[in-house]
Symmetry: C2
Subunit: 460 residues, 2 copies
């Protein structure tokens, strides 16, 4: 038999990892809830029709499609064959696959809002923490099954939402202990204005896409790319002068706003974008580390206003740990137009890596069983079992060793499982109504009477 | 455009449902943890090879297989075609599908233990709460995507585990408020002994399968089915007399054990099974409603010792809400023999229905935002925002209405969202440093100074 394995790009999460991940999830969830966001869960599988064509050609390729059941059934066979032919041509066919795995949380959310918009109360604030699947080539930090973690407000144009979402980033990172994070913001309107100022309003996508690569490829390559999009030297220089506002204006957000006002003196769209940045930076608490970054572009084309990127502390070299922005029309794709929204997302796998590298997980997160009751024989263990049950009912995580074996073996089990306390109840202890409690980390031991045992562990 | 929809047998979970489901999950999880079980999460997608053939022919049919990506790629095309031909013949082929969605939690758990048995500390106690997928015909209470909730101990033959698992059922149902539940137990050894006593040791599967249907089809149909398996009238009558022990022995577990001892006087296997039942019933706390049920069979063939079934209170007519049992060889399928185990499972969707019907969800479970800050204008809302942030940081879930619209509209939003408190801060309140807090359910209103606001809501 072949050695069992799991698919490339997927992971088993052992107890320690589950606990650490849950620490991140529950921290984020609590902050979402305190900001009035409601949970939503959508199925892992969606109709292929809902997903196909929504993520570009690449997305259609990387999406996991589910083979219809019963394709070998004689009554389906002709359809199955025709469907397979279509798929071989690179098309999709519901005769072969009707369903696919979720590719992100945004499109299923849009589908949900479109299906339920009559029943929902707007503005609708929802969060969603669920796995998604992409058949990408796996590499460090990139998986084929991974969890996304989104919060969106739909049905509101108010910039208060942007202020709140930036505050959520701050609150989550602070609670997780991630000091030195940065929340970078820009407005897509400013990038639109930049294209207009260049005299190339039709090339906003090309310009944005090139600027988006600045971090990765550097200014010279960005300029090269812009030239391949038929921008003149003057236009490229203008874009370069726009991009340098970031470094010139080290003095802070106010200085950048002043520089932007100069640059977009004649542009209505630019002024609108600057107003958005002004509102957010003016209304956010002083301890939120928000930084205007005119070079921030975000690849996705559907953004129309403020865009966000959360960055890990520079020391850990992990880069982006979250992103988001405002979009004008979430559900238009599903026949329900004019529902605007704004949302952010946390990159949980990267946050996990940041916390590991910065050693930020609290010790308690890793702990399971607190007390191992030793098994001292049939009668003794029967008695100890009842004592243990009382402890469990008061919330202390306990186990009894399953067999009355040599005490060394039981110690070794406790050690391997990183259990802190051993509780020993032999015949003498039963008679005298107490228990020996040994701290296996310090080797200190104490005698605790049965009635005080729950209290003893509660007070530790 | 077609109206958007979700695949048959799948569900969107709105905030209220997510909260209620999480109430069940977290109750179960807390009990598992207090019993020393550790979390495990395995991927949603497994290699098809891991799953295929493990659930019988029906399982292979109902399993969701994932179409390989890139089958239309010229370099894969010949393989894809050959794979498709095999699938058309009703076989499986990794040239068309290498991966499938999880069908249950047990096989992936076995695969995990087999892959990691060198690193795990045995007995290994794990719990797992994750979705699984089956292409069954959807009907009331049966879904194509649903969550399973399992706890297993592997690497131990001790019956203490059985006592603990039955206690877990009790603790969970008690915490959820499900009074009148029943935990029915039997031993597969007794059913094996029954076949032997009949003189048909080779027909244990047929006899068990027929007995398993007793609840659904009644004794007469069970007898008919047994006769179709070539059992004589005498044998069938013997089985009937075995089955009637349940009702004769209304006096309780002790009376049933006495009757069983009589019946299996000459059977070693029977005596072993009776010892198991005696151990579990003798060692369990008196408040656990455990009932020996000699008619309990559980369809799955891999059980070898104690089997469990948890039943909802008879009044709600929902039947089984959990089940499990002992198996001898979990990981033999994956080349690692001789790892015995015992486990139980909770039927979460049915528990949800039981709790809905019995009206057991606490009111708090449904609540999201506690306080809506009214938006009284640009200056006022800016001020109120800072007050709200303080409240959020002390853990109170708040929202601010996103626009400074008529007060009636803001009240109506609070009502629709079932928010209990409105906090109103106008220009006068800013000056006087207090806030008007209105309870929207009682229409009572109070004046609270800003500094006391967090305390006010904490004390409610």
């Amino acid at each position: 038999m072949a050695k069992p394995s799991i698919p490339q790009g997927t992971r088993d999460f052992s107890a320690e990892v589950v606990r650490k991940r849950n620490f991140i999830f529950s921290t984020i969830k609590k902050v979402f809830e305190v900001y009035g966001f409601e949970p939503l869960e959508t199925p892992a599988i969606e109709n292929l029709e809902t997903l196909i064509g929504k993520y570009g050609e690449e997305g259609d390729k990387l999406m996991y499609k589910i083979l219809n059941n019963g394709i070998s059934n004689p009554k389906n066979m002709e359809k199955s064959k025709a469907g397979f032919e279509k798929v071989l041509e690179g098309k999709s066919s519901s005769d072969l696959t009707e369903r696919a795995l979720k590719y992100d949380l945004t499109i299923p959310f849009a589908r949900y809002v479109a299906m339920n918009h009559g029943r929902l109360t707007f503005p609708y604030r929802r969060f969603q923490i669920q796995p998604v699947w992409r058949g990408d080539s796996p590499q460090k930090g990139r998986y084929r099954e991974f969890t996304q973690c989104d919060a969106d407000v739909v049905g509101s144009y108010s910039l208060i939402n942007e202020v709140e979402l930036a505050s959520i980033y701050h609150d989550v990172f602070s609670k997780l202990g991630i000091k030195g994070y940065e929340i970078r913001i820009n407005s897509r309107k400013i990038l639109t204005a930049l294209a207009e100022v260049c005299g190339e309003p039709g090339k906003v996508v090309e310009i944005t896409t090139a600027i988006d690569k600045l971090d990765k490829i550097g200014i010279d390559k960005v300029k090269e790319e812009l030239k391949t999009k038929d921008l003149t030297d003057d236009q490229v220089n203008l874009i370069e002068s726009y991009l340098t506002m970031n470094s010139e204006a080290n003095a802070g957000n106010q200085a950048k706003i002043t520089a932007l006002k100069d640059f977009f003196n004649d542009s209505d769209e630019g002024k609108k974008g600057i107003k958005e940045l002004e509102f957010v930076t003016a209304n956010i608490a002083a301890d939120v580390n928000i930084i205007i970054d005119v070079t921030l572009a975000r690849g996705l084309n559907y953004y129309t206003g403020i865009i966000f990127e959360a960055k890990a502390p520079a020391t850990v070299k992990i880069g982006s740990i979250g992103g988001g922005g405002r979009y004008d029309d979430l559900t238009g794709l599903f026949g329900v137009p004019n529902i605007p929204g704004v949302g952010i997302s946390f990159g949980v796998d990267r946050i996990y890596d940041v916390m590991t590298e910065m050693n930020l997980f609290p010790d308690e997160v890793g702990s399971g069983t607190q007390v191992l009751f030793f098994n001292m024989g049939e009668t003794e263990s029967r008695f100890a079992f009842d004592i243990m049950q009382q402890l469990r009912h008061s919330g202390v995580a306990c186990e009894m060793y399953h067999e009355p074996v040599k005490i060394n073996k039981q110690f070794s089990y406790a050690e391997k499982k990183n259990i802190t306390y051993a509780a020993i109840i032999g015949s003498q202890e039963i008679e005298q109504k107490y228990c020996i409690v040994k701290n296996l980390k310090t080797s200190m031991q104490e005698v605790v009477i049965f009635d005080k045992l729950a209290e003893y562990f509660k007070n530790i």
